[in-house]
């Protein structure tokens, strides 16, 4: 399956290079054509692929770790928290003064949200406390973002931030890619080896520990990994929701529900979803291009509704 998914991602990547106001820019044969390819299309397609990959992977990690098919960075507030931290970095001027401030703030925000969620899962009663904690984090992050925006003296900045938060990878040049990519790749490397302990966790935390899982260091490792991935992705692209929910869902039955085996295919499906969505928003006949995050939410939210309704009775009971 992974081979086919890899092929799909490669194809979508190439299509993503081709589609836009100027089609097949390399066929222009001019310097302008190649500038479009290298300065606009390559960063955009690469960011789309990486962001989709880390969001799909984060979804699979969070679902395996929290033992819940509804866990997803956007739904449970991780992206929102990263977004708030990134907005703070904008407004404090840190982002302008120090180039790594934006991704670092996003990573810190995402890691904080993941840690809060893990606390809720430890102390509480599974799905209900997880989702309530997610609702709370989302609400607090949204309120704080509104507060920061309301305090903003500049209406243009207000609009700029709102659009950025809606999630987009338009006009992100190589600089953004260079800042965010290392963090995303590092985060993915940190979590990809944790698959067998996610498998063990499907028997609950006690049994996983009796099988040799060091749940405390695993928790730190996954918090750091998901924080790096979602934080870096959100700080360059804003909130792109639901990819982390849909990707593991599409692959889970094909790997016989083994949480560890969902990681790599979820990453590939996530990459394909965001590349595909980013191509579709360029093709839609809207006056100004639809925000990527708006599109994924429009398509993804019904998916969440379906997932909740079809969720295994045992999942929701725990």
């Amino acid at each position: 399956m992974n081979r086919w998914l890899l092929l799909l991602v490669a194809m979508l990547y190439l299509v993503s290079l081709a589609v836009g106001p100027a089609w097949w820019p390399w066929r222009l044969g001019t310097e302008v054509g190649w500038t479009i390819v290298w300065e606009l299309r390559v960063p955009r397609a690469t960011l789309g692929m990486l962001i989709g990959g880390v969001l799909g992977l984060s979804g699979a990690v969070l679902q395996g770790w929290l033992r819940n098919p509804l866990a997803e960075p956007g739904v449970i507030g991780v992206s929102a928290c990263a977004g708030f931290a990134a907005v703070c970095a904008f407004y404090s001027g840190l982002a302008a003064a120090f180039v790594l401030a934006l991704p670092l703030a996003g990573i810190a925000g995402a890691a904080l949200a993941v840690a809060l969620l893990m606390g809720a899962v430890r102390a509480g009663t599974g799905t209900v406390s997880l989702l309530l904690m997610g609702v709370a984090i989302n609400a607090i992050a949204a309120a704080l973002i509104s507060l920061v925006l309301a305090l903003s003296p500049n209406p243009f900045a207000y609009q700029e931030i709102s659009l950025w938060l809606a999630g987009s990878i338009v006009d992100r040049d190589l600089r953004y890619l260079a800042i965010a990519a290392p963090f995303m790749i590092l985060g993915a490397a940190i979590v990809l080896g944790a698959g067998r302990w996610l498998d063990a966790l499907s028997l609950g935390e006690d049994t996983a520990r009796s099988l040799g899982a060091d749940t405390r260091s695993l928790g730190l490792r996954l918090t750091l990994g998901v924080g790096l991935m979602v934080g870096a992705a959100t700080s360059v692209a804003g909130v792109v929701g639901f990819v982390g929910l849909i990707a593991p869902h599409l692959v889970r039955a094909r790997v016989a529900f083994r949480p560890g085996a969902t990681l790599v295919p979820s990453m590939l499906v996530g990459a394909a979803l965001v590349l595909g969505a980013d191509i579709v928003v360029r093709l839609l006949p809207t006056a100004s291009e639809l925000q990527l995050g708006v599109f994924t939410s429009l398509v993804g939210a019904p998916f969440l509704v379906r997932a909740v309704r079809k969720a295994h009775a045992a999942w929701l009971a725990t």
């Binding site: 067998r196 498998d199 028997l203 006690d206």
Partner: protein, 265 residues
């Protein structure tokens, strides 16, 4: 049974949950090749004792020793390799395939479900499935199994580790008599293979029939410890449970029957 022969032992174990004392100075040693049943009223600390033996809880005082070594000083890998733990009402969060579920018992041996299993691991999984008579269910997702079948697979998961110590917390709690007898037979067979089997039970009759030794916990202490005829004697369990038992003997095996609550104990 000498101290050096103990597969696993607790020394002066004190367990607290907040201000409450759950276990108050427990000294027990468990030998290989024996089935030990831990019985006692609700809240006596049976599950807590088992969790300490599994290394899941940290004692407030005293320690657990695995073959003479303090359990706390051994890493999680060695602990997992030596001690298999089957919790009460074991369940899985995903509808895994039964064979994959059982293969989780091989994680301490380095198995990884996302990679092809090596021969040693797949043979151990096969053996475990065979011991619980579950080979025909192996390819089914566990959410399609009955509760009894699922409990069998959970047992097979614990057996697949092939650990020296097997801890089972009320493995027959929700099983019908046929499954319950079968499960106890499986535990006996493990002991016959040389494992140290420690099982928490509520059914005193099953404990008397299948255990070599019974430990009665009551009021956070060991109330009795010995072969079934001794540990289940009238003076002991009546006081421990606050119940008057009728002491029946079937085929030479004591089968105490709880008859009446004792109000003035």
């Amino acid at each position: 049974m000498t101290v050096t022969a103990a597969a696993i032992a607790v020394r002066g174990l004190v367990s607290r949950r907040g201000p409450a004392v759950i276990l108050d100075g427990i000294d027990l040693a468990f030998a290989s090749g024996e089935v030990t049943a831990i019985v006692g009223p609700n809240g006596a600390g049976k599950t807590t004792l088992l969790r300490h033996l599994a290394g899941l809880d940290v004692p407030a005082a005293g320690q657990v020793e695995l073959r003479g070594q303090p359990l706390g000083s051994l890493g999680p890998a060695i602990r997992a390799w030596s001690i298999a733990y089957l919790p009460q009402a074991a369940s899985a969060y995903w509808p895994l395939r039964a064979r994959d579920l059982v293969a989780l018992g091989r994680l301490p041996h380095g198995a990884d479900l996302s990679r092809p299993t090596n021969t040693r691991d797949s043979e151990a999984v096969q053996r475990a499935l065979h011991r619980v008579d579950g080979l025909r269910l192996a390819e089914r997702p566990i959410d399609t199994l009955s509760q009894g079948e699922r409990a069998r697979m959970m047992m097979a998961r614990a057996l697949a580790t092939e650990a020296a110590v097997l801890l089972a917390d009320e493995p027959v709690a929700s099983l019908d008599p046929a499954y319950a007898l079968e499960t106890m037979g499986i535990l006996r067979a493990e002991a016959a293979r040389g494992a140290c089997v420690i099982v928490v039970l509520h059914d005193l009759g099953l404990a008397a029939r299948f255990a070599d030794r019974i430990v009665v916990l009551a009021n956070h202490k060991v109330a009795a410890d010995g072969p079934p005829a001794m540990a289940l004697a009238a003076g002991v369990i009546d006081a421990a449970y606050g119940v008057t038992f009728r002491h029946v003997t079937v085929d030479g095996v004591p089968q105490p029957v709880a008859w009446e609550r004792r109000d003035n104990y």
